[in-house]
């Protein structure tokens, strides 16, 4: 019985992992199905508005692409995710997208909107600026009006105005997705044999490239299957992953080699996308205003100003809540906001007695042997210590 369920869980997970491994194929499938697709830059975009305009939001989070054309616009020390995005735009990888939504969460992202107009003139961009002082009451008003502007632009691209009713429906679709993603995060942690770290990442990453309705349906079935499989954590060491994103897979594939499983994550690319919901109608205000409330409520992210610096506290709470013994910080090469946060939370984790392993990652890094030495040493440090 368990073997059959496990096979079904692996089959369902593989459906999503395959999508995550080949976003271009996912894009082609959308286009072949007559759907319009809008590219969404990191780290947070109001994807519900894209959905309400009848289009598919499609995450643009770099890839294993060497910077060649994009070096005209982005220096060697810019983050590789942005270099890959611009490179993809310039080399036709994003051909077929109706438009892209650019953001301004960090210094590199801030210049992308202007770079894009010159580097990829054929693919229209819609700028979205999230206020950094999000706790100021004016932030809600600003975001609400920003979403209204986005809705107008996206309605024009989609050929369908974004109505209040459509936005409410989209919020419900995304609410269902986020609930299943949270459920999966817990279920995957309990089943590191069926869903090892790289598979967990692939399953969550697929959400960026699929219609949320389709993704949620498969994810719910996967969660149901995982719920029938006994706990697989015995003898393994739980870790919390933090950082912008945990790629390449070569890094994640090392974790089970040394007995680690992902007990929880604090990654911008993963749990940040689904840990907070859009409040329900009881919160008051229009759908756009409640959408704004979600953006205001997200904390503990290096790219969102946090006057109380809650990331360290959050990591400690995650370790305690999920039985994780240590934290692995996935430091994206040349990501300044992540470097700025590191001294603060590393000190807090040390004070709490939680071991921390910082590893420098880059999506297109050639080999993982240096990372292997770090991960293995960390496992030995916990084992022999």
């Amino acid at each position: 019985m368990t073997d059959t369920v496990q096979q079904e869980a692996k089959r369902l997970a593989q459906l999503l992992i395959d999508v995550a491994a080949d976003p271009k194929a996912a894009l082609r499938a959308h286009l072949a199905g007559g759907r319009k697709v809008v590219g969404c830059f990191p780290v947070l975009t109001p994807d519900e508005v894209v959905h309400a305009a009848g289009m598919v939001p499609f995450g643009l989070w770099g890839g294993r692409k060497n910077a060649v054309e994009s070096t005209k616009y982005l220096q060697a020390f810019c983050c590789s995710v942005m270099k890959a995005n611009v490179e993809n735009g310039m080399t036709g990888v994003y051909d077929g997208l109706t438009a892209v939504i650019t953001t301004a969460y960090c210094d590199t992202l801030k210049c992308i909107e202007e770079v894009w107009k010159v580097a990829v003139p054929a693919l229209p961009s819609i700028p979205f600026v999230c206020p950094q002082n999000r706790k100021d009451p004016a932030a809600l008003d600003f975001l609400e009006s920003a979403f209204a502007r986005l809705a107008e632009a996206l309605g024009a691209f989609g050929g369908r105005p974004v109505t209040e009713e459509a936005l409410e429906k989209s919020i419900a679709v995304f609410g269902a997705y986020r609930a299943e993603a949270r459920r999966f995060s817990l279920a995957a942690a309990q089943h590191p044999w069926t869903i090892p770290a790289a598979a967990r990442h692939g399953v969550l990453k697929a959400a960026y490239f699929m219609r949320k309705e389709d993704y949620t349906e498969i994810l719910a079935a996967l969660n149901d299957a995982l719920g029938q499989i006994p706990d697989e954590r015995e003898g393994k060491t739980g870790v919390v992953l933090t950082g912008l994103m945990a790629e390449p897979n070569a890094f994640l594939e090392l974790l089970p080699d040394y007995g680690f499983y992902v007990a929880a994550d604090d990654l911008v690319h993963e749990s940040l996308q689904f840990r907070a919901d859009v409040p329900g109608p009881e919160a008051g205000g229009s759908a756009a205003r409640r959408l704004a409330m979600r953006f205001v409520g997200v904390d503990g992210c290096s790219l969102l100003y946090d006057d109380e610096k809650r990331r360290g506290k959050r990591l400690i709470e995650l370790c305690e809540a999920h039985g994780a013994r240590a934290v692995i910080a996935c430091m994206m090469k040349f990501c300044d906001p992540e470097e700025f946060d590191f001294p603060l939370y590393s000190k807090e984790l040390a004070a709490a007695g939680i071991p921390l392993l910082p590893v420098e990652v880059e999506q297109n890094m050639a080999g993982a042997e240096g990372l292997r030495t770090r991960v293995q040493t960390f496992s030995e440090m916990l084992r022999f210590g």
């Binding site: 420098e360 240096g370 030495t373 030995e380 440090m381 210590g385």
Partner: protein
């Protein structure tokens, strides 16, 4: 019984055999890296006059640790350097290991357990390879660098940390009439700055022990000590620390 530790590094391979008491009974060193890994155990046994039946357990470490057939276990080099350094210098709390392709700083607690560690990640500056490249430009072997630096009256500062750019800088200095001795001193100062920057990412608590082949470079050890404001202790056979740690792990595991 005896216990074998094999450390396959990027530029040299080392082996140490210890007895039941953990006393070193044989050492082996070859200035070849991962290329020797496949038959290293047979070679070590033959060249140290040891019968295979005498070895109860073998642990492999270093970058080529996964390439050693016949090893009972493989353990990362940082763990092995920690164990080896602690055996060589019992009160060691901080280890600086400069290997061929990377540099490491390891912080130990009072019991010799690793508390934290840092490794160079963005480039080869501050590694043994950096010194090799610079020695080549100066037309000397790396062994000659300390004496050359000692003959200097004043150092010529090498401002580039990138190995390739630093090589160009040294060539420019030579072309500009800079003395080899002064440049050699500047090279040591440059590596020491990089290593100190790395070491300060972990807690620097005395005793600070330096391991790896570059620890034989007395000028470098002195420069690093000056940068850190701490005395650097270099054990006898510093490049054997990893292999010794591996041998001691082999003894402990069995």
């Amino acid at each position: 019984m005896k216990y074998l530790g094999v450390d396959i590094g990027s530029s040299a391979s080392k082996a140490v055999i210890v007895d039941n008491e953990g006393v070193v009974v044989a050492r082996w060193l070859k200035h070849t890296g991962v290329g020797v890994a496949t038959d290293v155990i047979e070679t070590v046994l033959a060249e140290t006059g040891t019968e295979a039946s005498e070895i109860a357990c073998t642990v492999a470490t270093g970058y080529g640790r996964k390439l050693v057939p016949g090893a009972d276990e493989e353990i990362a080099e940082l763990s092995c350097h920690a164990k080896g350094a602690r055996a060589l210098v019992p009160k060691t709390r901080t280890i600086i290991d400069i290997g061929g392709q990377d540099a490491k700083a390891i912080s130990l607690d009072g019991y010799g357990r690793i508390q934290s560690f840092a490794m160079n990640d963005k480039c080869a500056a501050g590694t043994g390879r950096f010194l090799e490249v610079m020695a080549h430009v100066l037309g000397v072997g790396t062994d000659a660098l300390p004496d050359l630096a000692a003959a200097s009256g004043t150092d010529i500062r090498i401002s580039n940390t990138c190995t390739v750019f630093a090589e160009s800088e040294v060539i420019s200095q030579l072309a500009g009439g800079g003395s080899k001795a002064d440049i050699a001193k500047g090279i040591h100062a440059s590596v020491a700055e990089r290593i100190a920057g790395l070491a300060k990412r972990v807690d620097i608590v005395p005793v600070v022990c330096m391991t790896g082949g570059s620890a034989n470079n007395s000028a470098l050890a002195a420069c690093i000590g000056k940068e850190l404001g701490a005395e650097i202790v270099v054990p006898e056979w510093p490049q054997m620390a990893g292999a010794l740690g591996a041998a001691l792990y082999a003894r402990a595991i069995l």
